[in-house]
């Protein structure tokens, strides 16, 4: 397979997944924020904060600076425009979908024509939308349409692509991006809880107890719960989480589910495992030992995610852990490029 074609498949996988992840994140954030008004008494507090702030979304996508260079305030309209339609934002939905479409166009002969068509048709629809139309109607409906377009694409891919190299490249991109996005999403939550209120409660003691009334803004408080549920919902994980963990909304369980669970399709561990499988099929490696750089990095990351416990992660610092996982995923991406795509 041509390296450039493989590269295009890889990026189509990443871009479509990224469009979906961005849609999920903005959707859940927008709707969760509707219900997190502060009690009137706290509005004037200097350190008052809203648990669901656009600032955390901007921070976590690494675009705070870029955003503030072009927009004055963090209002719904501007932020949604930035994340969805702003062609100058390299992560906006329109921009990544355009990227996926351009890549698909350059390898039309490699993929099923229905796959190209699904990307093209949604691209044409996306160009008909703008932020005012999204806000005037039901924003959720719009974000649902983005997710559906991604699902349609994935569905056609699953149904039509040969079980061969191009598919493994598409999946490499898709699952690597999914692992990164899930790690990021958890990081958003961490970012939200960073301010003052968190510090006075020990992290291991989450369950609200009868003796102690929890701080409404602190860990275990109603706003905290609301935030965690939003995180789960944004990866369609809430119901599956409930089925798996019966001990309520506990950060350790959530980390366990979203990061370490090998069976949940949006978990970091699952994504990394799938990428490793794709890479081994691409190199033709049937053994446990790695034969390429990407395999070595992926195997090591998978092993870490397999053998670490969620309470260990929390004790040593969730943000640090998620940050290192994202960094290691980026290393995998670079190793893939070096090994196969631009040697």
């Amino acid at each position: 397979m041509l390296s450039r074609d493989a590269d295009s498949c890889y990026w189509i996988g990443r871009y479509v997944e990224r469009a979906e992840a961005t849609a999920r994140m903005v959707d859940v954030h927008y709707h969760a924020a509707l219900e997190t008004t502060l009690p009137a008494a706290d509005l004037d507090r200097e350190d008052a904060f809203t648990p669901m702030r656009w600032a955390s979304l901007l921070a976590i996508s690494g675009s705070t600076k870029d955003y503030h260079a072009r927009y004055a305030t963090e209002n719904d309209r501007d932020v949604i425009h930035f994340f969805v339609f702003d062609m100058e934002n390299p992560g906006s939905i329109l921009r990544v979908w355009t990227g996926a479409r351009e890549n698909a166009r350059s390898i039309r002969e490699q993929i099923a024509s229905e796959m190209w068509e699904s990307l093209n048709v949604f691209y044409l629809q996306l160009r008909e939308w703008n932020v005012d139309r999204v806000l005037a109607g039901s924003p959720h409906e719009f974000f649902q349409a983005v997710k559906n377009a991604s699902h349609l694409f994935q569905g056609i891919l699953n149904r039509t692509m040969l079980m061969s190299e191009p598919r493994d490249w598409l999946d490499t991109g898709r699952f690597l991006e999914r692992a990164i996005q899930t790690a990021r999403l958890l990081d958003v939550k961490y970012h939200d809880l960073l301010p003052v209120y968190v510090t006075d409660i020990p992290e291991t003691d989450h369950a609200p107890s009868a003796e102690r009334q929890p701080n409404p803004y602190g860990v275990g408080g109603p706003l905290d719960m609301h935030g965690w549920i939003a995180v789960l919902k944004s990866v369609s994980a809430f119901e599956m989480y409930r089925k798996t963990h019966h001990d309520g909304i506990r950060p350790a369980s959530i980390v366990d589910f979203l990061v370490l669970n090998p069976t949940f399709p949006a978990s970091v561990r699952h994504g990394i495992g799938r990428v490793e499988g794709c890479q081994k099929r691409i190199s033709g490696n049937m053994r446990d030992e790695p034969t390429t750089d990407p395999e070595r990095l992926l195997g090591r990351l998978r092993a870490d995610l397999t053998y670490i416990r969620s309470d260990e992660i929390i004790r040593s610092g969730l943000h640090q852990f998620l940050d290192s996982v994202q960094g290691r995923c980026d290393d995998v991406g670079r190793a893939i490029t070096r090994t196969y795509l631009s040697y």
Binding site: S3, R105, E109, W116
Partner: protein, 526 residues
Amino acid sequence: MPLFDNYQTNGFYDEMFQPDGQPRPHYWKLFQRLTGLSLEDFRRRCQLAELTLINQGITFAVYGGEQGVEKPFPFDLIPRIIPADEWELIERGLKQRLTALNLFIHDVYHDQKILADRVIPRDLIVNAAYFRREFLGADPPGGIYVHICGSDLIRDQHGTYKVLEDNLRTPSGVSYVLENRIILTRVLPQMFRDLPVRPVDHYTTQLLNNLRELAPEGRRDSPNVVLLTPGVYNSAYFEHAFLAQQLGIELVQGRDLFVDNNIVYMKTTKGPERVDVIYRRVDDDFLDPLVFRGDSALGAAGLVNAYRSGNVALANSIGTGVADDKVVYAYVPRIIEYYLGEKPILDNVETFLASEPTQRQYILANLDKLVVKAANESGGYGMLMGPQASQAERAEFAEKIKANPRNYIAQPLISLSQAPSFIDETNMEGRHIDLRPYILYGQKEITIIPGALTRVALRKGSYVVNSSQGGGSKDTWVLAHDNASLSQQRNGMSQMMTGTGMAQSLGGMTQSFGKPAPTTEPEGGS
């Protein structure tokens, strides 16, 4: 129903109708079918075809507009029909022409006998923009330079076919021939049943065979054939991707290729893989930065030397543009006589050369009657349509001609034939058309697919058919035989049609669009 009720032939040669308003014999059955359709029904089929084009992204990029503007190439559903005897003439004429042009190119890059014999002025050739002196003496496989040719034909007011120009470098448009046919068989399948329409879908098979034959010695068993495209922003990118898919070959860009020790490789995920034949859709100028334009990233450094060493084949060869220069075009009838000793079967359009003093005087004095063309422009750019141009535009061209006479030719404005086209989704109007058949020159023989791209100038009164200038296309039907009974079947028509399963299948289609069946049976009723 009234699709053709207000149709006018406007005094032009009309492909479908005789001057008396009767359909020509080879159009009769189509006419019958079409008049059986309601306006609504026909309109819906047009929309279905257009939606297919947009959703599949069968579009071309428009240069000079906003970055990334894509338009579908408008597709007019009324096919253009060519009877078997006319096609036979076209086929013979084009084979003769391509044979002579290939001999001419070979001569120009070797002995230059035709220049020594003063049939063509030497300075005209050596100063031609597409003359590649770097390529003198090189020998392409089998002595063939032009493997794929697309010549543009027109019909004048008498219906006579004439050659307007030859495209010997990287002719495009064949994908529309194939796609138009696929779409038309989907949206108007019934029309095909009545006529012996020759298939066109073997084009890619023939092309692939020809390309594989070009592979270097020792690589013929399983040659690696690729299509080289400039990339997604090229106006013909859709075609490149389409052909690569249909041929089952890799679509490569310059950055996928590299040359090592005069061997061309492409970068794959399994390491470098040798390339044997390149169907290139990149102009000479951009093929190799070491030989041609140094700033080009569309080709591969060292490609020309690899080609000269015989380690890779190119289709078309380098330097073919010397023969599709519009000035050289004027000499093609003499070229045919010089190499083949035959009279041309297909005539040129009368052409005046600005490089000849007396002809230049004539051109300058008659700018309001002539079409002036720059020697090496295509796509309808660099042209003056004298009769329709303003005084200022004509004056501007006069200056250009005086400044660089070698670069201009002029031709009388030909009243191109017209064919019915569906305009504004409301009625049929005559629009001017041309014809571009695709000719493949293989090691053993020249073949032409029985079909062609018919381009149509959709703007009222326009003679410019180029897609960049508001042109569209039509499916082109070449008939397998001109059964004399075609015209005699007029009366027996309705009888012949009823009783077949066809009325039912057409009724079924109409219903599936959510409309009640038409009150008149499409076949004319029983």
